[in-house]
Point group: C2
C-alpha cells in the first residue's frame, strides 16, 4: 500500500470518537492528532500514537495532516470552524442545518478555493446518503413522489426540548415512523400525508417528584414546532430504567420514491433506500471517514473548493482501484 492518509479529528464528542473507531477499520488511514477546546490532558483517546492538542495548535499541523474531520455541532461550531480550517486543511464536515447549507457551502467554498484546499460539506446520512438517494431517484423517475421517513431513533433536538420543560430531570425522545404510512407508500398509493400521519413522537421521562406529571405532559404535547403537530406519547420511568434502557443512540429511516413509467405512466416503479443503525454517531462517522479518502484524492488531483455528495464520484470513496471496482462490484 502507498503512504497512509493522515487524519486529524477536531472535536472529541460522540462523532469524534466514532471517527477514531472508523479509522481503525480503514488500513489506508492513520489518526495523527485530535484537537479539542478542552484541556488536552483531560482527554483519553484510544489511539496511543495520536497526539492530543488544543484547538489553537491546529495551524502548526498544516504539513502533518492530509484531511481534518470536523466533529463539532452545526449550531455554533461548524459555521466558524469549517471556513477557518479550510484555509489550511482539506476538511470534511457533517453540517446538517438544511436551510443554511447554501450559505455554509459558499463560505467554505470561497476559502478552500483561494487556498487550494478541498472541502466536503454536509456529509453523513441526512444530509448525505438520503440526499443522494432523493436526487438519484428523482432523476431516474421524474414522474413520481418522494417520501422520507426517519426513525426509530433519538432526535437530539426534541430530547433537548423536553429536558427544558419544568420538572423533567432526564428525558429522551424517539421519532417513530408510522408503519401504516410506509405501507401505503410501498403499495404505490402515492398518498398525501399530513405531518402527524408520518411520524409519532415517543418520550421517556424521569420527573421531579414535586412536579405535577399532568402538567409536564400538557406542556410537551402542546409545544409549538416540536410536538403540537404530532401524536406524542409520554411515559414516566425511574432513573434506573432510564440509565439502563435509554443509553443508546439508534436511528435510521427510509427514502422512498414511487414513480410511474410508460407512455401513459401505466407502470409503478419503487426505489427505496433505508438505514437501520444501532449507533447513529458511529455510522455518520463512518461516512465522514469514507469521504475523507475522497477529499484527499480530489485535492491530489487539483480539484479544490467545496463539494457535496452530489459532486463526488463514488469511486473516490473506495480503497479499490477503478479497474478493481469494475471487475468486482459492477
Amino acid at each position: 500500500m502507498a503512504q497512509t492518509i493522515k487524519v486529524g479529528i477536531v472535536g472529541y464528542g460522540n462523532l469524534g470518537k466514532g471517527v477514531e473507531a472508523a479509522i481503525t477499520q480503514n488500513p489506508d488511514m492513520e489518526l495523527v492528532a485530535v484537537f479539542t477546546r478542552r484541556m488536552p490532558e483531560s482527554l483519553k483517546v484510544q489511539h496511543q500514537q495520536a497526539s492530543v492538542l488544543h484547538m489553537d495548535e491546529a495551524d502548526k499541523w498544516q504539513d502533518k495532516i492530509d484531511v481534518m474531520i470536523l466533529c463539532g455541532g452545526s449550531a455554533t461550531d461548524l459555521p466558524i470552524q469549517a471556513p477557518a480550517l479550510a484555509a489550511r486543511f482539506n476538511v470534511v464536515d457533517s453540517y446538517d442545518t438544511h436551510a443554511k447549507i447554501p450559505e455554509h457551502f459558499a463560505n467554505v467554498d470561497r476559502v478552500a478555493t483561494v487556498n487550494g484546499k478541498t472541502a466536503a460539506i454536509s456529509i453523513g446520512w441526512d444530509p448525505g446518503l438520503f440526499s443522494m438517494n432523493r436526487m438519484l431517484a428523482g432523476a431516474i423517475l421524474p414522474q413520481g413522489s418522494d417520501y422520507t421517513f426517519w426513525g426509530r431513533g433519538v432526535s437530539q433536538g426534541h430530547s433537548d426540548a423536553i429536558r427544558r420543560v419544568n420538572g423533567v430531570v432526564k428525558g429522551v425522545q424517539y421519532t417513530i415512523p408510522i408503519q401504516e404510512a410506509i405501507d401505503r407508500v410501498r403499495r404505490g398509493e402515492n398518498p398525501t400525508l399530513a405531518t402527524r400521519e408520518k411520524h409519532l413522537r415517543d418520550c421517556y421521562i424521569v420527573a421531579d417528584e414535586k412536579v405535577n406529571k399532568e402538567e409536564i405532559v400538557q406542556e410537551i404535547k402542546t409545544m409549538p414546532n416540536y410536538f403540537d403537530e404530532y401524536e406524542t406519547r409520554v411515559t414516566f420511568i425511574s432513573e434506573e430504567e432510564f440509565v439502563q434502557q435509554h443509553n443508546q443512540m439508534p436511528h435510521g429511516g427510509f427514502v422512498i420514491r414511487s414513480g410511474q413509467t410508460g407512455l401513459a405512466g401505466e407502470h409503478n416503479q419503487m426505489i427505496e433506500f433505508s438505514l437501520k443503525l444501532e449507533s447513529n454517531p458511529e455510522f455518520t462517522s463512518s461516512v465522514l471517514v469514507a469521504y475523507a479518502r475522497a477529499v484527499y484524492r480530489l485535492n491530489n488531483e487539483g480539484q479544490v473548493g467545496a463539494k457535496t455528495v452530489f459532486d463526488i464520484p463514488l469511486a473516490y470513496l473506495s480503497t479499490q482501484t477503478s479497474a478493481e471496482l469494475r471487475r468486482d462490484l459492477l
Copy 2:
C-alpha cells in the same frame, strides 16, 4: 431552458420503447431518430417527429445527435455496436455480462477516447444502481457482509432455457427471493447462505399435450447451472392463462450490507437498497436516459472516454443546477 439534448435510439425492442417513453418525461430531451436492423418502414414509433432509419444510416447523423442510447442485447449486439458507435457518437449502453465488463470497458474506452467521445457503459440497475449501492455501502462499512437478492421477477435467461426443453410450448421463469433469508440478513445475523437458500425458481409452462409432463419437470429441475442448485417449482397452465397472467415484466431486488462499527465492532448497522418494478425494461430505460444527460454534459466539459456509475457524479444526472440541488435536496 437551453437547447434540448438530441437523442438517438439504436434498437427498438422493449428497451428502446422504454427509452422513447422515458424521453417524454424529460423535457430537456428530444428523440430525433430511431435506428433499426429491421426494415425502417416496418417500425411504428410513438414520436411522430422522430425519423426511423436503418442502422447503416447512423453515421450520417453524427452532427444531429448528441447521445446515442444503445438498446440491443449484451450477448451479440453491444460488444460490436458500442465500440463502433463510440467512434462517432456519445453513447450509453446497458451491457450486463458481468464477467466481461472489463473487456467491454476497455474496447469502448479506447475508441471513445481517441475520438473525443464520452461513453457510459453497463448502465441500468444490475449492473448499475445495485453496483453503486454495493460499492458505497462497502466503502462506508468496511467490516461487514454484502447480500444481493433478485426478484420477484422474470429471468430472461432462465425463461429461454425452459423454452428449449422438449414439449415446452410457452414458458416463463420467475426468480423469487426467499423471505426467510432476507429476514435473517435484516436481523443482522450475517448468515452464510447457500444458493438454494437465497432464491427459488418458479416456472409457468404451456406444454405440448403429447409430451409427458413428468419428463418436462425432470429435465428442468436437473438442468445444470440453471436449475439444479435451486429449489424449482414447475406449474403447467393453459395457453389462455399464460397470455393473460404472464405478459408483464416485473422485477426488483435488494442489496443489503450488514456491517459493524465501534472499537470492538459492537454496533450493527444496516444499509438496504431495494427496487420493486412493474416494468423491468422501462425502469432500465429510465436509468439510461438519466445517464444520457450526464454523458452529454461530461462531453461538453471535455471529459471523454468510457465511464461507469462509479465515475460519474450524481449531479450530472439531474436537470437541476448544483446550487438548486444543494438548496432543495441536500
